[in-house]
Each structure stands twice: as structure tokens, then as C-alpha cells.
């Protein structure tokens, strides 16, 4: 090895305590970046899978214009829902399953009070395949909707509470909890009213079979899920839907499936990604990524200052050595190379330690999982994970940081006047 690098490496080991401090700064900085990224990845995946598997479906098919017409009556974008259409969708490569829906809103009443609701009429038999967790999290005493159900519904637990309804099995508990407020016994039936695309009012009675919990307060307050046939008869849309939700085999290749599906369906329909349907969720996740990026950046800057500081100290301490080297005829750029490679060496060792530390912590967290969300959500567990390209990039960034931090002290060392340096 070149003598200059030997001098650099040995100087790292010369002041062990200081080098250890610098190394730990790099290592901890990198490890923290890796860990928060891994947790953020887990949250990202959790949120997407939650969205895709619980509510939205990976892809959605609508009549063209549906999504851009949110303010108008989206019910007017209805279309025939039958075996032929389903076969067409499910024959596209990458598609796992498809299921028709009608999303609508209306007023719900218990005979005395009214409230606004957002409802989903779902093809119960097929919904299971498209959104495996479509039932969400049910409260105790609830019964899931079954394909044979026609006049039953699942209601957000807040909405149910405000209208004083509960599934049959949950009666006892409700009575106990409302002892003081002299409430009447909760009912079991609700009246839903809505209007057809043409504006004709209609109403049906549904039996509350389940109340649902959600991480989103709005869902607990507003959402109702009922069988597709019930929605069709309420809205006068017999045999029709406004949306087909599609599950895919591999979420990582979602865009490709979207394109194939769009081609198969033609311009009469539009095929959207979950992120287009739920821009709010996409934006939240994006903002979270930006935040993690900023935090990582700040951490790296801190590390940079720690290294720059200790390197500058080293330069001052070794002033006379620099003078000595200049006197035997070493060149400025060689002095620079010594200190610069010292910084890079510290950077590589520190970053390796940080990578190791970060990966170990992430693997352990992946093993045990991090409980997440409010209590009562069985599937609220985060399993942190890292992607190889990101880990490599973070490692390189840490080394790069060290190199950058070494640049200024190295220049300072190389710009010393030999006479002054020897006198020090």
C-alpha cells in the first residue's frame, strides 16, 4: 500500500478515542437513517395494502369521466355488470380477481334522527377475492355480510352509536354502557334513502349486522356497506354497477397490469390506480417520504460537521508533521491526499458499522414487528424492511459525507506554509 495511505490509516488508530467518537457518529447517523426508513417503508406498505386489501382494490374500472366528475352525480356513470364483462377483466394477464360495486351517498335514519352516509354496495361473493380484508375490523358481536344477505348492512361504529343501533349480539354490552344516560335499548334496523341517477327518491330498510372500526374517524362516522343487490334496488340500477375493483397478483407491477387492462377495456372505460382513486393517501405517504428524507439529510449534515471538526483538530495537532513532510519534499496534493483518505477511511469503517447496526436492528424489528394503530386492530403491525438499493445508497451517502467533511481540513493542511508548520 502507498505510504501516504499507510500514514492515513495509522493516524486513524493513533487517537483511538477520537476516532471512536467519529466512527460512532457516522455509524449511529447511518443506522438511524436506515431504521427510520425501514419503519417508514413498513408504514407505506401497510397503508397501501390496507387501502388495496380493505377498501379500494389495486385497480378500479369506471366509465370514462367518473373520477374527474366527483362533484356531479357519479351514479350516472353506471354500466352493465355481468359475467361477460367479468370474464373480460379477469382474462387480462396479472389480474387476480374483479368485483362490481356501487358507491353512493344518502341519508340514513333510525326513525327519529338522520345522518349523512357514504355507502358501498358490494358483490359480497366476489369482494372477498378482490379485497381480502374488505370486512375490515368488526366490533364484538358483529356478523360479517354473507353472499346470501340481501337486506343487511355493516355500519361504522360511530354512526351506529349516534343512531343508537347495534347488531343483535352486541345488545347486552350496549345496555350496560348506557346505564347512566337513560338511553332506550339500541335498535337493529335503519332506513336508508337515496336517489336514482335520474333523481327519483327511494328508501329501504336494512338490518344492522355488524358495526365496523377504522383507523379513519370519517369512516367510523359515515360508512355503510351493503349487498350490491340492495344498493341496486335502492338506486334503481338493477344489474348495473358504477365501479369494478380489481386485484392483481403482484403489486410491484401494477402499472403494467393497468396498461393491459386499459387496452382490453377500450376508451369507454378508465382504469385507475389505487393512488389515483385515493390521492389523499398518496399525498400523505409522499409527504411522509419527504419528511424522512429531510430528517436523513439533517442527520448526514450533523455527521459531516462532527467529522469536519475532528479532522480539523487532527490537522492542527499534526502541523509539525506536515512541516516535516513538506521539508522532505512531499507535495501539497500528497498532504491533501493523506487527510482526505483519512476521512474516507473513517467514513467507510463508520458506514460499515452503521450499516451492520442498522440492518441488525431492522431485522430484529422485522422479526418481532411493531404494534401500530389503536388497540383492537389485529392487523396493526408494522414489519420494517429495507430495499437493497436504498441501503447501498445510504452507505455511499455516508462515505460521501465523510469525504466532503475531509475536504476542507485536507485543503487547510495542504495550504500550510512549511516554515510556519515546522515552527509549531
Amino acid at each position: 500500500m502507498n505510504i501516504l495511505y499507510q500514514v492515513a490509516v495509522r493516524n486513524v488508530f493513533r487517537n483511538r478515542r477520537r476516532s471512536l467518537f467519529t466512527l460512532s457518529a457516522i455509524a449511529i447517523g447511518l443506522a438511524v437513517v436506515l431504521i427510520i426508513t425501514a419503519v417508514s417503508n413498513a408504514f407505506y406498505r401497510f397503508s397501501i395494502e390496507n387501502a388495496v386489501n380493505v377498501k379500494i382494490g389495486a385497480l378500479q374500472i369506471h366509465k370514462s369521466g367518473y373520477l374527474s366528475n366527483v362533484s356531479l352525480n357519479q351514479l350516472s356513470f353506471h354500466f352493465q355488470y355481468g359475467q361477460e364483462l367479468l370474464r373480460k377483466v379477469e382474462s387480462v394477464a396479472g389480474v387476480k380477481a374483479a368485483s362490481g360495486r356501487i358507491a353512493f351517498r344518502g341519508l340514513v335514519s333510525n326513525g327519529r334522527n338522520q345522518a349523512l352516509f357514504f355507502a358501498n354496495g358490494v358483490d359480497v361473493e366476489r369482494e372477498q377475492k378482490v379485497c381480502p380484508r374488505w370486512l375490515g375490523t368488526l366490533t364484538e358481536g358483529s356478523q360479517p355480510l354473507l353472499p346470501s344477505d340481501t337486506g343487511q348492512a355493516m355500519v361504522g361504529q360511530e354512526l351506529a352509536r349516534s343512531l343508537n343501533v347495534a347488531p343483535k349480539g352486541a345488545l347486552i354490552r350496549s345496555v350496560v354502557s348506557s346505564e347512566t344516560s337513560q338511553q332506550t335499548e339500541p335498535g337493529e334496523f335503519l332506513n336508508l334513502s337515496g336517489s336514482s341517477p335520474q333523481g327519483r327518491q327511494n328508501a329501504i330498510d336494512v338490518q344492522v349486522k355488524a358495526t365496523t372500526k377504522s383507523l379513519l374517524p370519517l369512516e367510523e362516522k359515515r360508512s355503510i356497506t351493503l349487498p350490491l343487490s340492495a344498493a341496486q334496488s335502492l338506486l334503481g340500477l338493477t344489474g348495473e354497477v358504477t365501479e369494478i375493483a380489481v386485484a392483481v397478483h403482484d403489486l410491484d407491477h401494477l402499472e403494467a397490469v393497468q396498461q393491459r387492462l386499459q387496452a382490453a377495456m377500450g376508451s369507454e372505460f378508465e382504469v385507475s390506480l389505487w393512488s389515483d382513486v385515493q390521492p389523499f393517501l398518496r399525498d400523505v405517504l409522499f409527504r411522509q417520504k419527504v419528511l424522512i428524507g429531510i430528517v436523513s439529510f439533517i442527520l448526514f449534515i450533523l455527521v459531516l460537521f462532527v467529522i469536519a471538526n475532528t479532522m480539523t483538530m487532527a490537522v492542527f495537532e499534526r502541523t509539525r508533521e506536515i512541516g516535516t513532510m513538506l521539508s522532505v519534499g512531499i507535495k501539497k496534493n500528497q498532504i491533501q491526499r493523506i487527510f482526505f483518505s483519512e476521512a474516507i477511511f473513517v467514513g467507510i469503517i463508520g458506514a460499515l458499522a452503521g450499516l451492520l447496526l442498522g440492518l441488525i436492528v431492522v431485522l430484529v424489528l422485522k422479526r418481532i414487528g411493531i404494534p401500530f394503530g389503536s388497540e383492537g386492530f389485529e392487523e396493526g403491525m408494522l414489519y420494517p424492511f429495507l430495499q437493497v438499493p436504498f441501503s447501498c445508497a445510504a452507505f455511499i451517502a455516508a462515505v460521501f459525507c465523510a469525504a466532503l467533511a475531509g475536504l476542507f481540513p485536507a485543503r487547510r493542511a495542504s495550504n500550510m506554509n512549511p516554515v510556519d508548520a515546522l515552527r509549531a
Binding site: 505510504i3 499507510q6 493513533r14 508533521e321 516535516t324 513532510m325 519534499g329 501539497k332 500528497q334 506554509n417
Partner: protein
């Protein structure tokens, strides 16, 4: 007959050719508003192969003079020819190669590189060169030099494991490994006890004889004078006796 005579003449002339030629050399330090004239017009030359002692009290300008001669510093005015080459106006970084190939330094504080062992310290000036001899050849020369200065048993030691006299021997070997034209020793014995000093002085004189290397030796210790064939006395930045 004629031609052999002229070649003999050339040889004589070559031997007496001055390695160092200094004329009216001045060095002025600016310290805020006050100026310090460290060298006030030095005229001075050193012939190839000489062992010259520069004697003067502390603060007389010896270090300043040696630094300029060693191409570490630039004079404020005057001329300086090293080996016939005018180096008075060149930047010290430009002169790195001149220092490396032509000059060896020996300092009062030994100035060894602490992380390198004896062998590596001695090799160092040769290892930073662009063009290098083979590693084995260099090692061989280092070994021979170590034997010459009495360091055979300490070749793997780090500087902090050596006594002052041993460290100075390493510095001497490092100054000689490049086979320089000129060795500059700035009070090399000031940090040594008198016994060790004598040994170091004797060693330097022997090396001067055996290698025919020019030595310029700065000291404030008049005792050293007896050892030198030539003494240059310097006082307040001027040569007072040659």
C-alpha cells in the same frame, strides 16, 4: 598531454564549484506594523563536499538562513543559486522536488513521523517520489544506512520507543537516503546531552567524509566549532566572520 591537463583542470574546477551561492540575501518579517530584519544582506557560499558550521547566538538568523537555503522559505531580496540553479524566486511547492532530490534536513526536534517505524521513516522521502526504485533495492539501502548510523537493532521501532540520540540518527539516515547534495542540520544537538551530541557530531562528520555530502550545520554552541573545517559566524542577520 594537453587534453589530459584540461580534463584535470575541469575536474579540479568541478570539485571547487560552489554548491551554494548567496548574494546580498535579505529576509524581512512583517509583524503588524513592525518589521524584523532577520537577514540583512548575507553573502555566503559553500563548496561541494564541505562541512560548514554556521555559528551564531540565538535569534541571529541561522534558522531563517537555513530555511531559505533549504528551499522552504523565500528571501525578501538577494540572489540564491543552488547547484547553479536560481531558486530564489520559486514557490516552495514548486521546489518540492528540489528538496526531495537535493536536500536533506536534520532538525533540533528530530521531526520524525510518529506513526511510521524506523525503516519507514527513513524510506519516506523516497516513497513519496513519482519514480521509485524497487522496494527491495530501497530496503537494502535503508538497511545499509541503518548499519552505518548504528540503528540495526531498532529498525522496527516506532520513534516514541527510541532515545533522543537514536531519533536523531533516524533523522540523519532519512536525510541521507535520497543521496542529497546538501544536508542542512539546524541545531541538531540542542536537545541532546553532551555525550550523545558528540556521537552525533562525529557521525555527521564521518558521513560527510564517506559520502562526500555537503553539510551545513547551524548551532549556537561554540564547542562545535572545533570540529568544523570551516566556520561562518553570523550575528544580527549578517555574516561577521567567514
Amino acid at each position: 598531454m594537453n587534453s589530459s591537463n584540461s580534463s584535470l583542470n575541469a575536474l579540479v574546477k568541478d570539485q571547487s564549484k560552489n554548491l551554494i551561492e548567496i548574494h546580498n540575501l535579505k529576509k524581512i518579517y512583517q509583524l503588524g506594523k513592525t518589521t524584523v530584519e532577520a537577514l540583512r544582506g548575507v553573502d555566503f557560499s559553500v563548496a561541494e563536499g564541505e562541512f560548514t558550521v554556521v555559528l551564531g547566538p540565538s535569534g541571529s538568523g541561522k534558522t531563517t538562513l537555513l530555511n531559505i537555503i533549504g528551499c522552504l522559505d523565500r528571501a525578501s531580496s538577494g540572489s540564491y543559486l543552488l547547484d547553479g540553479e536560481d531558486v530564489s524566486n520559486r514557490d516552495f511547492n514548486d521546489l518540492a522536488e528540489v528538496r526531495n532530490y537535493k536536500i536533506g534536513f536534520i532538525f533540533q526536534n528530530f521531526n520524525l513521523i510518529p506513526v511510521l517505524n524506523v525503516i519507514e521513516n527513513i524510506e519516506f522521502p523516497c516513497l513519496v517520489r513519482k519514480e521509485q526504485e524497487s522496494r527491495a533495492q530501497l530496503r537494502e539501502r535503508v538497511r545499509a544506512l541503518c548499519a552505518e548510523v548504528g540503528l540495526e537493532r531498532f529498525m522496527k521501532h516506532k520513534p516514541d520507543e527510541l532515545s533522543g540520540g537514536q531519533r536523531q540518527r533516524v533523522a540523519i539516515a532519512r536525510a541521507l537516503i535520497t543521496q542529497p547534495r546538501l544536508v542542512l542540520a539546524d541545531e541538531p544537538t540542542a536537545n541532546l546531552d553532551s555525550n550523545t551530541s558528540d556521537q552525533i557530531l562525529e557521525l555527521m562528520q564521518r558521513l560527510n567524509r564517506d559520502h562526500a555530502t555537503t553539510f551545513l550545520f547551524a548551532t549556537h554552541d561554540p564547542r562545535v566549532m572545533d570540529l568544523a573545517r570551516r566556520t561562518v559566524r553570523i550575528k544580527d542577520g549578517m555574516v561577521v566572520a567567514n
